[in-house]
Symmetry: C2
Subunit: 118 residues, 2 copies
DNA sequence: CATTATGGTTCGAATTTCAAACTTAGAGCT
DNA sequence: AGCTCTAAGTTTGAAATTCGAACCATAATG
C-alpha cells in the first residue's frame, strides 16, 4: 500500500491504526467456502416474531452453531439469519424447529445457490 | 497460532497455504462499518424476476456501486442483495428503480438495524 | 520391501513491523 | 503577523516475522 500510494510504510500504518481505533475497520476476517468444508446448504432466513417475543427469539438464535450471522431488521422481516447446514435434511429440521419456536410467526427461508459478488 | 497449537510456525504456514490452494480460504477481507463512512442505511433486498429475465437482471445489478453483495437463491427470493446507501432518500430512489426494472416482479427490502453476529 | 505422500522440523537470510523522535504544513486564535 | 495546536508525514534502527530450502518421520500403497 505504501508503495502504491507513494508514502512511507509508517504513514500507512498510522492511518490504518486510526481506522481501527475510530471503528471504521471493525475486524479482519477470512472468507471461507462453506461447501469446501462440508456445509452444502448455505441459507438466508427471514424471521418474523410477535413483537413482545422479539428479543427473546433473538437471544435464542444467536448462540446456535448453525447461525453464522444474525441481524435485526425492519421492513420485509424482523430478523435475518444466515445459516450453514451439512445437508438439506438438517436444513429442513432447523426450519421446522424455527416454525415451532415460541414467539415466531413467520419463517421465510432462501437457499443461496451462488455468491456472485462478495 | 503455532504457539496455540504447539507446532512450528512453518507447519501452520503450510496448512494455511494449502487451505488457500484448495479453496477453503477464499480470501482475506476487512469488515468495515458502513455507518462510520457515511452509509447510514444498510439493507438486504430480496428480488424476484420473470424466469427468462433472471440472468439479465442479475448482470445489471452486479456492477452497481450500491450493491455490496449479490447472491442467487431459491426459496423466498430469487436474488438477494445487500446495499449501502448514504441516506433513506437514496434508498427509496433505488427501490423505485428496482421496481421499474425490466423483468423484476417483486422487491422486498429490509433495513438492517444492527448486526448482532457476524 | 521399497516408494510415495503427508505433515512435520530446523535454519537463516530477507523482509516487515513498530515505536520513538523529529518535521512539516495548515487551521484557529489573539 | 505571530503563536500554538493538531493532523499527517518521515527517518531510523532494533526486534520480530516471513518464508523458502533442505531435511526428518510415519503411514499408506503397489
Amino acid at each position: 500500500m505504501a508503495r502504491h500510494f507513494g508514502v512511507t510504510e509508517t504513514a500507512v500504518r498510522k492511518r490504518v491504526k486510526n481506522l481501527e481505533v475510530i471503528g471504521v475497520i471493525k475486524k479482519y476476517t477470512i472468507d471461507v467456502d462453506p461447501k469446501k468444508i462440508g456445509f452444502d446448504v448455505d441459507t438466508l432466513i427471514g424471521i418474523d416474531t410477535m413483537p413482545e417475543k422479539y428479543i427473546h427469539v433473538m437471544e435464542k438464535l444467536r448462540p446456535m452453531k448453525e447461525v453464522m450471522r444474525l441481524c435485526s431488521a425492519s421492513g420485509d422481516h424482523m430478523l435475518m439469519i444466515e445459516c450453514w447446514f451439512q445437508n438439506s435434511r438438517d436444513f429442513t429440521k432447523f426450519i421446522k424447529m424455527l416454525e415451532k419456536m415460541d414467539g415466531v410467526t413467520k419463517v421465510c427461508p432462501a437457499i443461496i445457490n451462488e455468491k456472485m459478488k462478495c
